[in-house]
């Protein structure tokens, strides 16, 4: 089984440690994983801004880069969702269908494909989990609070495998952080207010570390935290799952 590591463009540029953690985590389970150097971006920034047509060259490039892999795994619910959901506007060749079907968020790959039962990670801290919307409601990585049915959460399931980790309970367990791509700048006031409210919820409930399956939510929250010099830290889910 050949796995291609797909990193969101901003993770590649600003958060290399998240890419390294993902790679190390996958290798712990002896997954044959490589990172195709030609990769760029899934095209989401343009498409969510209404400029889907400007994103199509990125879509085509993505498919070309990843078509030879059995699975394409990303530490991002949002970019995974974009590939699976919105690559419907290009011609659905066999390669496109393959890439769309086989692009998975890391938690899906760990739990549904290689079906891990345990982790060696240790992380003796109080952790607050921020559910990224595209992971939660797009990929259905968990049962959103809106829907009636059996509760489950792939992200929580993984965090519960980490030794010493204490997951805190939030007042609003899956409200959006307010990042929203270009929304963060075009609606800057609402975006910042949403983020501040999320951070306050985590702090009120005693989180030392705020984690999420998407670095984009965390980039926004971290920006607010650093401006206010708050104590709380942000870490991507994979950094915790890979913690020694």
């Amino acid at each position: 089984m050949k796995v291609g590591l797909f990193l969101p463009c901003y993770v590649d540029q600003f958060y290399p440690q998240v890419g390294i953690a993902t790679l190390e985590l996958l290798r712990q389970f002896e997954v044959e994983v490589s990172y195709p150097m030609e990769q760029t971006c899934c095209g989401q920034p343009m498409a969510n801004s209404g400029c889907e047509k400007d994103a199509i060259p990125s879509y085509l490039h993505f498919v070309e880069t990843f078509q030879a892999f059995d699975y394409i795994v990303a530490p991002s619910g949002s970019c995974t969702y974009h590939v699976r959901k919105h690559f419907d506007v290009i011609e659905q060749s066999e390669q496109v269908q393959h890439v769309r079907a086989r692009t998975l968020d890391i938690s899906e790959f760990l739990l549904d494909v290689i079906q891990i039962k345990s982790l060696t990670a240790k992380f003796p801290h109080k952790v607050g989990l921020h559910q990224s919307c595209h992971g939660l409601r797009g990929l259905r990585l968990g049962q959103g609070s809106e829907r009636v049915g059996t509760a489950y959460s792939k992200t929580e399931q993984l965090l519960q495998m980490v030794d010493g980790l204490e997951l805190i309970t939030l007042d609003r367990k899956d409200e959006c952080c307010g990042f929203g791509g270009t929304f963060a700048v075009s609606e800057a006031a609402v975006s910042a207010k949403m983020g501040k409210d999320r951070i306050a919820d985590h702090q009120r409930n005693g989180a030392e570390v705020l984690t999420a399956g998407d670095m984009s939510c965390l980039m926004h929250l971290e920006g607010l935290i650093r401006r206010r010099r708050s104590e709380i830290k942000v870490m991507h889910l994979v950094e915790i799952l890979n913690a020694k």
Partner: protein
Amino acid sequence: MQHADKAATFIQNESKTDWHNASIWRAREKRDVAAHGIPEWEHLRELASQIKDNVLSNLDHYLVQFEEAATRNGVQVHWAATAEDHNRIVLGILQKNKLSKVVKSKSMLTEECHLNPFLEANGVEVIDTDLGERIIQLRDERPSHIVAPAIHLKKEEIGELFHEKLGTEKGATDPNYLTEAARQHLRSAFMESHAGLTGVNFAVAETGGVVIVTNEGNSDMGVHLNKVQIHCMGIEKIIPRAQDLGIFVRLLARSAIGQAISIFTSHYHRPKAGGAMHYVIVDNGRSEHLGREDFRNGLKCIRCGACMNTCPVYRRSGGHSYGYTIPGPIGSILTPGKDLKQHSDLPFASTLCGSCSDVCPVKIDIHEQLYKWRQIIAEEGHLNRFKRWSMRLAGKILSSPKAYRRFGRLARWALRVMPSSMVYNRWNDWGKERELPTAPKQSFKEWYQENHPAS
């Protein structure tokens, strides 16, 4: 003014924003408790969605069936292609019967058609009788929420308004006292009224009857006290059979406010002895919307307001920031169809978090429609030039590995070396309240190449 500017103004009063957010979130929490009390909730949503799909696919047939049944019951049915037609028809009914005082209940449609100012200009006095509606009528404002039109006002503001308009004690804020004052004021309005006008929640094709759900009972007061009753409805209010109400009534009040059922569920079928009953069935752009394949199912909406209550943007920006009768997520997918240019900001007033689609009792794919409207807005040239230009450039850089690497390296370098006064300038909306990420010397790609020389 765009949504973002109005929202920013709203948020300046942070304590009021927090209050607004919290009070509306309570409705969402109550909705969750009520929905989770029904194990078959998701099944009910699916049934409701399918019934509405059937209605929208056969609307011509159901409307004619409804008209025939209603006519058999002795109801006079009027068709209005536009808001102006609607207003003229209502005025015509009143003038023909020499009626000049109307009490009104439960109608967002008449808000949409701007009926009140039209009637007033023609010498008819209109009193909105639902408490929230009456409050905003006295303030000469638009509703900020479709179920709770005055949700943006605190009791102190209402106390002040009632002191000025209804003569209550100055500084009074006790909700019981204020509500009682409104009740007495409205009782006399009811007694003096000449006609009762209501909106419609459901129009049953097979029976020709209409159903109105309320908590205050004002629709019954207006209808029962007057010989002439007028019910105004959009063409999409149709449901095929009376038995379908069993699904919609269970969903509506639970979704709206977490009540198992509204206090009053009024069924009107025929005029009272010696009275007259009218339906005004309004299109006003709906059939055009029905023709938009990607957007037609927005017409399934039963106006519960759950998408507003759950929307993290709505709760922090207030209903008036949307600039249209129906605010929030549902408003943002209906309004671009009315005037794309004027409302081109609304589909962007969302993070696409998808909560609206998951609370919607009739499963409208609201956030997916927001995404699709964005594409149309950009295609038709309504994005601002800076955004359009930067996206075009981003599309070029992000699809070329070489350009991507060069640009990434340059951007990280610039962020490291530029003085912060240059980075955090007035054009940097990100930086107004947030730090930018710290730029590492090495990207992942560069690290990988160093550590995996074969690749």
